[in-house]
Amino acid sequence: MLQYTIRRVLLIFPTFFLISLLIFVVLNVAPGRPGAGAGGGGGEQAGQAEQESYRIFKEQFNLDKPIALNLRHLTDLAEVAAWVDAVRAAPGAVPPAARIDAQERLEDYGLVLVPHLLVLLEDADPERQRAAAAWLAVAGQQRFQNDRRGDVVAAREANRAIAAANQEIKGWTWTAAAPAAEVEQKRAAWRAWAAAAPDRLEWTPAERVEMSLLDTRFAKYWQNLLLLDFGVSNIDRRPVLDTLLSKMKYSLSLGTLAVVIAYIVAVPLGIFSAVKQGTTADLVTTIGVFVLYSLPSFFVGTVLLRIFTEGDPLALFPTGDFETLSAGPMTTAERLGDIAWHLVLPVVTYTTGALATLSRYARTGVIDVIRADYIRTARAKGLSEPVVILKHALRNGMIPILTLLGSLLPTLVAGSTVIEVIFNIPGMGQHLYNAINLRDYNAVMAVLLASSVLSLLGILLSDLSYALVDPRISLD
């Protein structure tokens, strides 16, 4: 048992790693990019997307790095020259797509471009020299260190030096009309800058391998993850973990209530069906729960809202929300009552869907054991039918449905997007939906990773609980 548990726990880590890689890649290759704005429906506002500021934004969120494999150090001089020429080409000479692509590469590649740009700086064409210097001022920029965690003071000190250095090299560009002396002086400055730290521009094979695997978005993400840093949202710039935790209370209250009530209703229903197996009563119950199961939650929710909230015919419940928004201060008891009153309809909606699965599990569980020898023995020794069912059959018949609890763990926390949107409950489901729409990668990752961890733990728990409640099952 212990050995099995250890093996299973260890297996969680590679599984989690693969899950995170999968989600990360899918998320990052999906069309659209963060910070590009929503637009569309109601109309967009005319305005220029500003290059410099967007480049800094990309750098901050590692969006300038390749997703999982970085082969940029293989870039050769001809490629770089072609990009530089594409960006500075006359209008119409280069297709816009190629121009945008070249521009983005020159912005994103950073230091690996520097050796090639230094070669272009010595080119015979003065215009090419000028373009090379302009791109050197971008590619040669150093990145700011993270001064939010670790040695904050040292990081700030370093950032001040980095800012000064970046500011200095930004000045080493010139306009087309610049006098020859100025151009020569600035080119000399670049040469001196390159000579000052030559090792920074040359990479050993080992460094190249490291760069390929570790200088990527995914690796950077994991480096932060290992320090339990889920990053900040690129929408509101708050740590995504804080937001996530603040949403959890809503989904957790709704989910827990719904699951508890679903069990309270489904288990007796399942036993009833099992005892009356094959009768009309069983048939009616079965059809009933399957009809409920087949009704999508958005439909059930809307119908309930239509009937019970609009005052036409009934106005028994509020039209959504987690609690009354405009109310004054309330005592704890009043507040709990208020929340309960708001949660009636969402919980009912939640439950109708879960009812079928749970009651079927309960039914099968009881039917499985009801024919067992020991039940026949119990009946034979003259015990009444309720005692036989409730005391003897139930104990073993409920094993599958109890172990199912483990796998419900993630749904408790992850919430239901549909129900949360319809009933305007600001939980995790709604949060995930918004984050996806806004391409808030860090927020989406955090929610999905949290629910993957819970899924993995839930599966582990349900496997272990099998062995715990049923001595016949041995896992070793």
């Binding site: 109601g42 506002q45 005592t331």
Partner: protein, 646 residues
């Protein structure tokens, strides 16, 4: 026997425990209630104490009339050189002020933040007009007139160097922080309620932030307008000088409508320590106060719980006319279908109606009673936007204006507007809002006329030579059929209907169109790369006409520019440049009209319609009034016709 005795004892003690617990909870509940009542009483006393100043203050301002909110303003407005002029009428009528009322509205989603310099989006821009004041604002009655706000006097001799005199005695709202903790004592100032004064240094700080390339968000759009700024300085606490490099009409609105943030709060971290000069721009992007709002406007920020609600309260120390109610509650309701339900249930005071809801609630409503409740009323207003179809002028097919005109003639815009968009708007023929003088009313939208379209296509050399029902033409030695792809905004189903209707009509004149619905980001990529024949689009416009970004040929060659269709026209360039430099209203209108006629002739876009919006509201609100200019909805104009809360 012994066993049963034990269990009886157990039950009795359990019962006792439960009873004690119930009594205990009841007592705690009672105590809580008492505490709440006490604090309510205290708050009422405090409010009364404070009310002594602002209520009488408000009364005197209204008595003196809106034109002279202070002696300083009156004196400034008397100066003939002042670019700012007295407002034509006040925003709020004093008679309508109803204490104790809360205005409740819905918002479809949370804003990205509440720092108007960082957070992007039309919603933040609108909310910032509630809690913020600007240098100057456009008058409600005559939007071309600038009226004083934070600035009382703006003068210039050459339209390059502006001298601005700021209003005296203005204070920033009190930051919404936990003052009791003592952590924020550094933020206390000398003003009423420990407020910090608003000075010219705040404006300078804001300009620094705008021009710092590390800052990102809305500020990167603003930066375009402030790039031509050469110098700016605070002469003293209430005087500011700013110098532009080039003369441009847009400089004024950029300056007047710039959101201003306080230096005392945004230059420091949460413990009041100033940021490093090297990275302060990055720090501003993720500043600890960005999720809260601060300003000098009529409503001050109370709280924001993302996904739940945002609350504002009337600022008793606001320098202008106070709003007519005490609180503003914006609840976040993401499901648009819930809006009418919440209005009907009395949880909201007014809502926007979506187009589909417009059909179900208004067009299909036989008895004419909105939401089956006679106390619910309706108001409509026109938005500053226009919908269009853009033609790629770099594609040989659409380089010919006769072809573009034929496309417009073959698009049954009036029919689509009626059948698909339920007449929620008006057909338009040019790039200006129809309410502005720039729109030339003599230019009618082209009719729907398939015969005329056929004639134009034939004239342009497109004929069906091979008899397959599709017109063709020899281009560069090759015979090409007239087929094209129309990229449509895929996240909205109405476009699908529109495209298929048009497709049928185009087939009749021998043109094959293939609709391609794309999600916005995919669509934007195609447009940035100029990889399209035609697309559906919409622009949000402003009162002030500026043609450079969308229509100047210099923009046509820039990747990712607004001139995606590659429109190049020497006359258009001339008008766009002249309009930037023209300050005389009458001459500006002339230029606009000339441009309107030019695009009507050239048809670079097929202009479609300008959208309208419908609002439903309870009759306990006075008839709703909307601004002519964006953001149109201005909750400062709303008021109740019953004094007390229901």
């Amino acid at each position: 026997m012994r066993q049963s005795g034990q269990s009886t004892l157990l039950f009795i003690s359990l019962g006792l425990l439960t009873t004690i617990n119930v009594i205990n909870s009841w007592q705690i509940d009672h105590l809580e209630r008492l505490a709440i009542e006490d604090s309510a009483r205290l708050a009422a006393i405090e409010a009364q104490l404070r009310a002594g100043v602002p209520v009488s203050g408000a009364a005197t301002t209204t008595a003196a009339g809106p034109a002279a909110r202070s002696a300083q303003e009156a004196e400034a407005l008397a100066d003939p050189k002042n670019l700012l002029r007295a407002p034509t009428r006040p925003r709020v009528r004093a008679a309508q002020v109803s204490p104790g009322r809360t205005l409740r509205m819905q918002i479809g989603q949370d804003p990205q933040g509440l720092n108007p310099l960082i957070a992007k989006g039309a919603d933040v821009n609108e909310y910032s007009t509630y809690f913020n004041a600007f240098m100057a604002t456009r008058d409600i009655g005559e939007p071309e007139r600038w009226v004083p706000d934070l600035a009382v006097k703006v003068t210039t001799d050459d339209d390059l160097r502006y001298r601005i005199e700021l209003r005296k005695g203005v204070h920033w709202h009190r930051p919404a922080v936990d003052w009791a903790s003592g952590r924020y004592d550094w933020a206390k100032g000398p003003g009423p309620d420990d407020r910090q004064p608003f000075t010219a240094h705040d404006v300078v700080f804001t300009l620094d932030a705008i021009r710092n390339t590390q800052t990102a968000g809305r500020v990167s759009d603003l930066r375009t307008y402030f790039e031509p700024v050469v110098a700016y300085r605070a002469v003293d606490d209430h005087t500011l000088e700013i110098q532009f490099k080039e003369k441009a009409y847009t400089n004024r609105s950029a300056l007047f409508e710039m959101p201003i943030i306080p230096r005392f709060l945004f230059s420091v971290d949460e413990d009041g320590k100033p940021f490093d000069a090297a990275t302060w721009g990055l720090k501003l992007n993720e500043h600890w106060y960005n999720q809260k709002a601060i300003g000098t406007g009529p409503l001050q920020f109370v709280s924001w719980e993302p996904g739940v609600k945002m609350e504002f309260a009337r600022d008793p120390h606001y320098f202008g006319e106070p709003v007519a109610y005490d609180r503003l509650l914006m609840s976040v309701v993401k499901d648009q279908n819930a809006w009418p339900r919440k209005l009907k249930a009395g949880e909201l005071d007014f809502i926007y109606l979506q187009p589909e809801q417009f059909k179900t609630e208004i067009l299909d409503d036989k008895d004419g009673v909105l939401l089956d409740n006679p106390a619910i009323k309706r108001a409509d207003f026109s938005l500053f936007n226009y919908f269009y179809v853009g033609w790629n002028a770099d594609r040989p097919k659409f380089a010919d204006k006769r072809v573009r005109k034929a496309m417009t003639l073959s698009f049954n815009r009036a029919g689509v507007l009626e059948k698909v968009l339920y007449n929620q708007g008006a057909l338009t023929s040019g790039p200006f809002p129809q309410q502005t003088p720039c729109y030339d009313k003599s230019v009618q939208p082209l009719p729907f006329d398939l015969e005329a379209a056929k004639a134009l296509l034939t004239e342009a050399g497109w004929t069906d030579t091979d008899g397959d029902g599709v017109r063709d033409k020899v281009i560069d030695g090759q015979r090409v059929p007239f087929t094209f792809t129309l990229i449509t905004f895929g996240s909205s189903s109405e476009y699908e209907t529109i495209a298929s209707t048009w497709r049928e009509d185009l087939l009749q004149i021998g043109v094959q169109m293939q609709p391609l619905p794309l999600e916005w980001s995919a669509m934007l990529k195609k447009m940035d790369e100029r990889d399209f024949d035609a697309f559906t689009g919409a622009w949000v416009t402003t009162w002030e006409a500026d043609l450079m970004q969308l229509w100047h040929s210099a923009e046509a060659d820039k990747p990712k520019s607004g001139n995606r269709i590659g429109f190049r026209n020497a006359e258009a360039d001339r008008i766009a440049e002249a309009l930037r430099l023209e300050f005389d209203e009458a001459k500006r209108v002339e230029l606009c009209h000339a441009f309107h006629r030019l695009v009507a002739e050239e048809q670079p876009y097929t202009f479609f319609y300008q959208r309208e919006r419908t609002v439903l509201y309870w009759e306990h609100l006075n008839a709703l009034e909307f601004l002519q200019i964006p953001p149109h909805r201005d909750v400062r104009l709303f008021s109740f016709n019953q004094p007390a809360s229901p």
